[in-house]
Symmetry: C2
Subunit: 406 residues, 2 copies
Amino acid sequence: MALIVQKYGGTSVGSVERITAVAERVQRWVTLGHQVVVVLSAMSGETDRLLGLAKQIQPRPEPRELDVLLSTGEQVTIALLSMALAARECPARSYTGAQVQILTDSAHNKARIRDIDGARVQADLDAGRVVVIAGFQGIDEHGDITTLGRGGSDTSAVAIAAALKADECQIYTDVDGVYTTDPRVEPRARKLDRITFEEMLEMASLGSKVLQIRSVEFAGKYQVPLRVLSSFIDGEGTLITFEDESVEDAKIAGIAFSRDEAKLTVLGVPDQPGVAHQILGPIAAANIEVDMIIQNVGAQEATTDFTFTVHRNDYARALEILDAMAHTLGARQVLGDAKIVKISLVGVGMRSHAGIASQMFGCLAKEGINIRMISTSEIKISVVIDEKYLELGVRTLHEAFGLAAD
Amino acid sequence: MALIVQKYGGTSVGSVERITAVAERVQRWVTLGHQVVVVLSAMSGETDRLLGLAKQIQPRPEPRELDVLLSTGEQVTIALLSMALAARECPARSYTGAQVQILTDSAHNKARIRDIDGARVQADLDAGRVVVIAGFQGIDEHGDITTLGRGGSDTSAVAIAAALKADECQIYTDVDGVYTTDPRVEPRARKLDRITFEEMLEMASLGSKVLQIRSVEFAGKYQVPLRVLSSFIDGEGTLITFEDESVEDAKIAGIAFSRDEAKLTVLGVPDQPGVAHQILGPIAAANIEVDMIIQNVGAQEATTDFTFTVHRNDYARALEILDAMAHTLGARQVLGDAKIVKISLVGVGMRSHAGIASQMFGCLAKEGINIRMISTSEIKISVVIDEKYLELGVRTLHEAFGLAAD
């Protein structure tokens, strides 16, 4: 007998039929002799509907009251699932975040979990009941309702699993696991049976939106075994492991990419201390996040060329800021390119395998793909290339590093 | 400065526009220097929508889980109204039944309020905030969410007013007060400025569905001054007073009527002890409520005729039961009539004015309206007449007792 925490997202509980299907799945685990805690999101679309009502009343809704409003979404699904379980003679009890005492700080709309008292939940489990908990929400020390922000249900599930010392935390989504890359770009992409926490963090932050990155960090911190599965297709999903070495003995776990990149270059700035700060200070002040940064010796003596990337949504604004200060900087020219993408190889195997970067660059060169920028970390190599080469680049690297399905 | 509790029903908060209108009204009271507590229902239609979802999953939903589900309805409106108030620079805070600690028993779906801790609400009021509380819901001693049953928001408001020792509890509805009779039947019906609690109880239970009868009882018990007003039209509404004598110095406060009546008669039962019990026992066992009861000497010697009324919905079933036992009873015949109505004169003035009953009977006789049954209490006289005479009867009595508007 194991204690399993299962989390189902908005699509998985998006209709009465799907809630019934979740009840069937939960019942199967109970029948196998396991104790099951279910953590739910709101029905898909519900949070947006509520947010729409709020914005009609107040364009920037009061954060405290927005949490009171949005937290009703999960309260509806936990009640409905508990009914569906009861209808199948599977005793269940629902709890809101407040009832189960998911204690958070008071940062409304983006609260962080501080503590969970698992006593009441454990008592229900021991009495043979399934416990159904509202994800995404908690309560602060004043008794005010809080929410964790979008995708917070994953974090709720992991935190509850940690508090109950659960044997596994299963995140049910609309994909059947983590893939070596996006199957829409490379149809031969392969589902990974396992991936390490570090790799998962890099894959998630690079745009493979399977899991909320905060929940992965949380699971890593509290050593909660995490599994990503499909709520529609049966299967083992992908287990996220703590082993330091990639258990699959592959150099590379997967290829992440991001289409939302844009590149800005300031040419011929006088090469003197403080230039980087002079350029990036106003960008940061405009709340624009900068990803990759490169500074090169310039074409003319005593000057330097400075390049960085931002999210494509911030491109126009960033270009405006640079243009406005080009003269003050003494820059020769400001260039921009919003037609670039980023591709990243991710794998803990890089630590023990040399030459991966040069192999990557060689592959891309052979296909005539020009690399515009490079950035590396211990388990990741990212390159910026022209947008039009994205698919070709991903498929070439996928093949070259032996990631394809057999 | 007064402490006012205002309750708005589902129609009054049925859309974003209407919620904004409620915020305007609340703000006006605050501007006048009053402390205001607002108690809200769910948006009209929302409770039915949620109930519909539940019934798709489980035809008879788990009572505990149904309360978790339905209580989200008011949680939405309290958040939205608080936002609307904040948008008008009128600081407000919302509280669910659980947060404000409306302690109830554990009778899910029809819980009764046991206690309310007004401390947190009073602290907010003293800090200059409007407090917005979810009606219809509470929490039991185990921390489980409960609901008070349909219309329970009126009771919530009165109970909160009692706990806070409010100066007045204002119930905003879609009518502008209590009328001498239904204006759809008698266009000259007049709004009452005041009515006594006893009269209001008789009017309410007789079909003038302005207030939940439980809330009126509650207000009477805790001596909470109650006022019924329109949330759409400005006005003083109707104040429900504790004075024993009708302050309007009228004999009659109003005329209530009910179209949902049906009459059953068992003719020629042997006149012996226990007959009434023999007849009504099986009716009660079938959960049919009996209203008026008359037993007369029968046409034949040593027999009696027994007549009673039931709700029209129960008529067919009641007739079936009587037919089945007619032989055992030794009854001569069982008769039924579902085309009857009840008209009642209500007024504490009856206590001190003699001859009201005979005046009533005389009026009806003059119009050729035959009285089928009569029943009286200290402040009420009810007659059963043929359905077709309802409008004529109500208008005749309304005129005769001087109730019409000038």
